[in-house]
Amino acid sequence: MIKKAFALLLVVIIAIFLSVTFAKIPFGYPKTVVGKYYLDHGVKDLGGVNIVTSIVVLYRGFDTLGEVTVLFLAATGLGMVLAGLREKDEKKRKKTPPSLIMRTETKLLFPMTILFGAYIFIHGHLTPGGGFPGGVVIASAFLLMFLSHKKWEAKEKYTKITEALAGMTYVVIGLIGLYVAGSFLENFLPKGVPGNLFSAGIIPLIYTAIGFKVGSELTGLLQNLRETTE
């Protein structure tokens, strides 16, 4: 009880200090100069209509490469931590088999969900979305199949190969930019008409690679978690 009271007191004090600090930050007014620059020059520089995508993939492309690496490390770390961990008292746990509705529906939904994921990452430079959400949608399609079909699995060999190929594509595109345009991850393709599907240079290529990478990584991660819990 006393512990809880102290914790509450601490939380209240921290909240008050945070509020006092945040009260000095005006809400709803422009704050950064760099954001204005990106907005004004983004379409001219890179040809992508979605400025957030342009920032993530090209202006701060190196940062995104590091982020993809962190994701890869976390997925590998999860595989390592869980390696050798298997459910021992398998008989004790009651399992309810998935119902007929679930099995039929997921079979129907699986290809469509993957198609939707692909749509999200291919249109990353035009609409909200991109490689990361698209990859997560693809992984959710696999999650549906894992939930409804006990025997069905994504072979680790294939997820690993897809992931490695997608990661290599990302780096190779960056290196081509270094060779052709003079700096790593520089745009070397024509910019096209802003708003068209084939525009924005290398943004769709990189986001497709990221979509495949995130999708296969998260699928492998789910597969790892599933092998240990079933």
Binding site: I25, F27, L39, A75
Partner: protein, 121 residues
């Protein structure tokens, strides 16, 4: 306009406080992880709030009007790009933490931090 600060910054402060309380008081490891995720959400919300500008729209310049005067019509895109990064990292870190929790459950047979003797010092 003061109410923006109160509502939007207040929401992120409240989320942060709830998450911190969960971390301090709860004894179950999974609940502690939930508290961490709440704090992460609070930080993401705060970053997005910082980038908002009254009366402006999303930084996707999909029509002519927006293309003509982007910075007069669209909000700050930089915090949104940062949050996009942070969300993905958050998912990965949560999955890794969950796997470590599964390991702890296997070796100790409990998720209660008070009962895990090796953590005491």
């Amino acid at each position: 306009m003061i109410y923006g600060q109160v509502i939007f910054y207040g929401a992120s402060v409240a989320l942060f406080a709830i998450g911190l309380y969960a971390i301090l008081v709860k004894r179950n490891l999974i609940k502690i992880l939930l508290g961490l995720s709440l704090i992460e959400g609070a930080v993401n919300l705060f970053l997005i709030n910082i980038g908002y500008i009254w009366g402006k729209t999303a930084p996707i310049l999909s029509n002519k009007e927006l293309l003509a005067h982007p910075s007069a019509k669209a909000v700050d895109p930089v915090p949104q790009a940062l949050v996009l990064t942070a969300i993905v990292i958050g998912v990965a870190v949560t999955a890794l933490a969950l796997s470590i929790i599964m390991r702890i459950y296997e070796t100790h047979g409990t998720l209660n931090v008070d009962k895990i003797k090796e953590l005491r010092w």
